[in-house]
Symmetry: C2
Subunit: 296 residues, 2 copies
C-alpha cells in the first residue's frame, strides 16, 4: 500500500451480528484496502470500523458500505446510549502516509457527493471539510439527533452540503469529513487527588489557554488509587506527545508529585512514536522511512 488513508466510519448497528457482518463484508478481500479493526458496543448500539487504504479503493468500499447500511438500518427502530443521526453516523478520513489533508478533504467530498446521489441521502461536510465554521464540530451538526433532524435540516444554516434537504426516512443523515489522526493519550499521576489532575488538565488544554491541539480532563482511577490526566491529542504533528508529557511532569512537581506512567489507547500513527524517540535521543536527520516496518 503506497498511500495510506485511514477511515473510521461509525454505523448505528451494534447488536445484530448478521447486519454487522454484511457491512464488514464490504471491506473484506478487496485490493488496496485493509480492515484493521472493528468494535461494536451493545449499549451504544453502534459499530466503529477502522480501515486503511488508497484513495480510490477506499472510496468505493466506503460508498458500498453506506448503501448496505441504508438498506439494513432503520433509525426509527434504533435505541442506544450514543447520540446518532444516521444509519451511518459519521465518516472521517485521516491522512496517514503519502497522503495530504487536501486529498482527504477531496476524498470526503467525493464520497459525500456520491452517497448523496446514489442513496438520495442528505450529507453534511464536517471538520476540515466543513463549508462554514459552525459546521466543523460534529456534535453541533448532530445536535437533535435523528429525531430532531426532521425539522433542523430545513433551517438555512443546516442545509446539507449534498443531497436533498430532507432527512432520509430511515437512514437519517451523515457527516463526512477529513481530520487529523487523534491520539488518545493518558498520563497517570502518583496521587489520589483528582483536583490536581483536573488542575493540570486545565493548564494544558486549549480551551483554558493550553496547547492548541489538546483536549484534557482529570479522571479518577479508583481501582489503582491514583488519578489521570486524560488527553485527546487532536494533532500530534503540531502539539507533540513528549511536549505534553514534559509539561504535565513539571506542573506536577509543584505539588511534589511524580508521574506514574502514561498510556496510549488504541492505534497511534508511527510518526507520533518516531517523533518521541527523535526528541529524547536528540536524533539528527532521522526519517520515518528508516523504520523497517514503514517500508513494507
Amino acid at each position: 500500500m503506497k498511500q495510506i488513508i485511514e477511515c473510521v466510519p461509525n454505523y448505528s448497528e451494534g447488536r445484530d451480528k448478521e447486519k454487522m457482518e454484511k457491512i464488514l463484508d464490504c471491506f473484506r478481500g478487496k485490493e488496496g484496502i485493509k480492515l484493521l479493526d472493528y468494535s461494536n458496543d451493545i449499549n451504544h448500539n453502534r459499530m466503529v470500523v477502522t480501515l486503511v487504504g488508497e484513495y480510490e479503493p477506499l472510496k468505493n468500499a466506503v460508498v458500498e458500505s453506506v448503501g448496505k447500511a441504508v438498506e439494513l438500518i432503520d433509525l426509527n427502530q434504533h435505541e442506544g446510549q450514543h447520540p446518532r443521526m444516521g444509519a451511518v453516523d459519521v465518516i472521517p478520513f485521516i491522512p496517514i502516509k503519502n497522503a495530504t489533508m487536501e486529498e482527504c478533504i477531496e476524498l470526503s467530498k467525493e464520497v459525500g457527493r456520491e452517497i448523496a446521489e446514489k442513496y438520495d441521502f442528505p450529507v453534511f461536510l464536517y471538520e476540515k471539510s466543513a463549508t462554514a465554521p459552525h459546521r466543523e464540530n460534529l456534535a453541533a451538526i448532530r445536535k437533535g439527533e435523528f429525531e430532531g433532524m426532521a425539522e433542523k435540516i430545513h433551517e438555512p444554516e443546516w442545509r446539507p452540503d449534498f443531497g436533498p434537504a430532507e432527512r432520509h426516512a430511515t437512514a437519517g443523515t451523515v457527516a463526512v469529513g477529513a481530520r487529523m489522526p487523534l491520539v488518545a493519550y493518558n498520563i497517570n499521576l502518583n496521587t489520589n487527588r483528582l483536583d490536581i489532575a483536573t488542575n493540570i488538565a486545565k493548564k494544558i488544554r486549549h480551551i483554558n489557554g493550553g496547547f492548541r491541539f489538546v483536549k484534557a480532563m482529570g479522571v479518577d482511577l479508583e481501582d489503582r488509587g491514583i488519578v489521570q490526566v486524560s488527553i485527546n491529542m487532536t494533532d500530534f504533528t503540531r502539539t507533540a506527545l513528549y511536549r505534553v508529557f514534559e509539561t504535565v511532569k513539571f506542573e506536577a512537581q509543584r505539588w511534589g508529585i511524580t508521574i506514574a506512567g502514561s498510556e496510549i489507547v488504541g492505534l497511534v500513527p508511527l510518526a507520533a512514536i518516531v517523533d518521541t524517540a527523535e526528541y529524547y535521543l536528540g536524533l539528527e536527520n532521522f526519517s520515518i522511512d528508516q523504520v523497517l516496518e514503514a517500508k513494507l
Copy 2:
C-alpha cells in the same frame, strides 16, 4: 506479509551494473518477499541487498540469487577493499516480526544445505547458526579470504558445514547464518576531544566491561569539529538504545560535556523505536500492534 524475516546478502560485485541487475531481478515481482534496499560500493566492489519476506518465498529467492552470483562472479578476477571469500560472501537471516531466532537458524541451515547441493559449493554456518564457538564470528571464518580459503578449508576446524571441503574454483565459499538485527547508532558529543569519545566508547562496550550487546569506538567528525561515539547495537532487545544514550550522557558529564545529538544509520526495527518511546513516556501496557503501520 504476516511474517517478516530480513535477509541482507552481500554479493562480491559492486561495479558491473548488468550483473548486479541480474542478481536483483531474483528479488523483484515475487509474491511474499520485498526488495527494500540495495547499495553497491565501487571501492569495495560489493553489493549489499536488504530483503524482507516470509520463510519459504525468501528461501527460494535467496537460493536463486546465489545461483545467479555463482554463474556471474569469478573471485579470481575480483578486486576490492572489502575482505571477501565468495561470490556471495555472507547471508544473514534476521527475525523481525512473527518470526523467532530458531526459525531463522532453521532457514539459514535449509538455505545452506540447498545451495551446497545445487551449486556444489562449500557453506559455513555462522553467528547463531554456528556449529562450534570458533565459527560464530564471520571475520574468523573469512580470515585469509578467497585466496587463503584454498588451503584453510582442508584444516579440520574449518571443514564446511555443507558441501564439498574444497573451495569452489570461481565462487569460493559463503557464510550463512541467523543473527539479531544490528542497529548502527552514533552519539555525538559537544567536544572535539577524540580521547573522550574513545574513553566513553570503552566504558560502554562489551569487550572492556560495558554492555553485553554493544560494540563502540571513538570517531572524529572533523567537518563538524566534534567527536562521536560510534556504536553497533548487536541486540537492542537486550541492550536498549535509551540505556546506552543515558549512559553516554552521564559519562560525558564527568568532563562537563553535553550530547550534541545522536543518529541511527540505515534501517531500524520498529521495536527499537517503540522501546525508546515506552521508556521516556513511561508507557504502560503498550503493544507494538498499536502502531498503525505495524498492522499493515
